[in-house]
């Protein structure tokens, strides 16, 4: 078992008396890819925000490399954890290259210039995500998949030990969904990603974390988490779980026609 880079224990987060996260505990071993799954509103984004300290939990503790998360300075934290967010806000005037250059921010002092080494790093990151041709194009003009890849290039330039992705495959076609996750896996760093598509999560992640209504329902290898029973309990759908012909992790086939209006007929059978 490899060393754990992130340990979360008894994590709680409450807002105005409402519990968003309740007693979450898990750890992230070095170099592994951890998938965060669960229905809408399960608390996936909130949990990730706790991990990159955008929200401060109301209880429990998060240890990053054995040191409490609150002990890190903003810069030191940004050198350790890079984040690729779900929605990218409107930028008014940036080229792809400039966006990627932002990844240097936590590594630079007040008057530090961008050196030729930095430029090489930026170029390397851009070519790794296949955007070198788009370097001087405005970021706003990129397609959804290209924007996502540009943000990953920025995270590469940030040189983190942990990469957090909040629904990186949203709005992407299936080719880019696979491409983005394989790209992330190829970086060889520890990754936590929230993923909606269970089959994609099953195929790409070493371990999964299943959340529902702020509670941790299951964690472990995809075969332990993605069972017919747990999927139907949490997501409210019927399915059959088989072994995938290629990677032998769970492959989920959903059944249709079981939702609301048809429910009574089924009960009568």
């Amino acid at each position: 078992m490899s060393e754990s880079v992130l340990d979360v224990n008894h994590l709680f987060w409450q807002v105005e008396g409402k519990t968003i996260l309740a007693d979450i505990h898990f750890n992230l071993p070095q170099g592994q890819m951890l998938g965060l799954i669960g229905p809408n509103g399960a608390g996936k984004s909130s949990l990730l925000r706790c991990l990159y300290r955008y929200i401060l939990p109301s209880g429990g503790n998060i240890d990053l490399f054995g040191k409490d998360l609150t002990a890190y300075s903003p810069k030191a934290l940004a050198r350790t954890i890079a984040v690729v967010q779900q929605d990218t806000p409107h930028y008014f005037d940036l080229t792809t290259e400039q966006l990627v250059t932002m990844g240097l921010t936590p590594h630079k002092g007040l008057f530090d210039a961008t050196t030729s080494d930095d430029k090489a790093l930026i170029e390397q990151a851009l070519s790794k995500v296949g955007l070198i041709k788009h370097a001087h194009q405005p970021y706003e003009q990129l397609s959804g998949g290209e924007k996502q890849r540009a943000l990953i290039a920025r995270a590469i330039v940030q040189q983190p030990q942990i990469l957090i992705l909040d629904e990186p495959t949203n709005h992407l076609d299936i080719r880019y969904q696979i491409q983005i996750l394989e790209l992330v896996a190829s970086l060889g760093i520890s990754v936590i990603a929230s993923i909606h598509d269970l089959n994609l999560a099953s195929a790409m992640c070493d371990k999964l974390l299943l959340l529902d209504k702020g509670k941790l329902i299951a964690k472990g290898h995809p075969t332990q988490v993605l069972t017919e029973r747990q999927i139907s309990d949490v997501f409210g759908v019927c399915c059959e779980v088989n072994s995938h012909p290629q990677h032998h992790k769970p492959l989920i086939s959903y059944f249709y026609g079981y939702q609301t209006s048809n429910k009574e007929e089924i009960n009568h059978d």
């Binding site: 990159y52 806000p89 930028y91 290259e97 990844g103 630079k108």
Partner: protein
């Protein structure tokens, strides 16, 4: 494509360096008294020669006009243009609002209120003047001293008013993480209206002379520039520019949103608030020394971005803003014979047309 882009950038930079060298010479020769370029050059040369002696071929009067009237004026105009432009540029970035400008946060209305208060309370025809005049003139201050004190009190009042409005905005916007930008903009608008109403009230009760001098002041002018008063605006703008250059990456990172900037190790609320304070300081000092000059802070950063898209050239923004202001001042001096036009009128006229242009071309 990269080459064409780089070429244009170097052409523009070359042109700006050229313009920066030539502008003082041309700007110093235009005005009520036309002085030949050659004379201006020889006056400038005499500044740099070792003995510092005045050249013989230029009349002493022209020398004094160039050195004591026009040169400080040019420097002040340059500093004001540069300061307002960088303040506008930084504010547009940290609030992610392309229409932000240094006057957005009620700074100018606060300053106007301070100025009006000073004028209407203490000037010759003001509310307290009779009582005050009696006290002051009978006691130690003569007519001259009184005049110089009121010259100083107007910028001071403007500065205090501007600081007060910034204080209100800062207190209201607070350190709340999620809605800081919105609170900042809304409290700025509210503060603006509050001080606008108070100013109108004071003007309503004050004399026509006081109202006229407030109007003239609020339109902005560099006519009162002198070497003795140049150090404060110059120092403020230079130091602010250095601070902004130091935090260039952090300011850039804010463009990608608060949460994204946070993940890049930026203390978002603190950075935004300190930049607001810095821009307010620039604006308050400039308003106090040359009145309200609108739209420069809006117009110049956008023009620079259009010219050098994909770059955030802080220094270039400052230079373009400075040169622009010097030439606007030349126009203000030369457009009408025997009369100076307030620069604020010209910048506001140009600026509002430009504003409409930007809105039309915004995606």
């Amino acid at each position: 494509m990269i080459n064409a882009f780089q070429h244009r950038y170097y052409y523009c930079v070359g042109f700006l360096i050229f313009a920066t060298i030539l502008t003082p010479i041309f700007a110093a020769s235009f005005g009520a008294a036309n002085i030949h370029f050659a004379d201006v050059i020889s006056v400038f040369k005499s500044l740099f020669t070792a003995n510092g002696l005045a050249p013989n071929e230029v009349s002493p009067l022209n020398q004094r006009i160039v050195l004591e009237l026009r040169l400080p004026r040019i420097v002040l105009a340059f500093v004001a243009g540069a300061g307002l432009s960088i303040a506008g540029s930084v504010l547009q970035t940290v609030t992610r609002n392309p229409l932000a400008d240094p006057y957005l946060f009620g700074i100018s209305s606060g300053a106007s209120f301070g100025a009006v208060l000073v004028i209407s309370l203490f000037s010759q025809s003001g509310l307290l003047s009779q009582w005050f005049d009696g006290v002051l003139q009978v006691s130690m201050l003569g007519d001259n001293a009184w005049w110089s004190w009121s010259m100083l009190s107007l910028p001071l009042g403007a500065f205090i008013g501007a600081s007060l409005s910034v204080l209100i905005v800062v207190v209201l916007s607070g350190f709340g993480r999620s809605s800081q930008v919105e609170r900042m903009l809304l409290s700025g608008v509210a503060t603006s209206f509050l001080f606008g109403a108070l100013t109108s009230l004071l003007l309503y009760f004050s004399s026509p002379q006081a109202a006229a001098s407030v109007l003239f002041w609020s339109l902005g002018s560099f006519a009162k520039a002198s070497w003795a008063q140049l150090w404060l605006p110059s120092l403020t703008v230079t130091i602010s520019l250095l601070v902004m250059l130091a935090f260039k990456r952090q300011i850039m990172a804010l463009q990608a949103g608060d949460e994204s900037a946070h993940t890049l190790g930026v203390n978002v609320a603190k950075l935004r608030l300190s930049m607001l304070l810095l821009c307010s300081l620039i604006t308050a000092v400039l308003v106090a020394s040359c009145g309200g000059i609108g739209f420069v802070g809006l117009m110049i950063p956008h023009t620079v971005r259009l010219l050098f898209s994909g770059r955030q050239p802080m220094v270039l923004t400052a230079v373009v803003g400075g040169l622009f202001m010097v030439w606007i001042d030349v126009v203000a001096r030369c457009l009408l014979t025997n009369q100076e036009l307030p620069v604020g009128i010209i910048t506001a006229a140009l600026g509002s047309v430009f504003f409409l242009f930007i809105l039309r071309h915004r995606r």
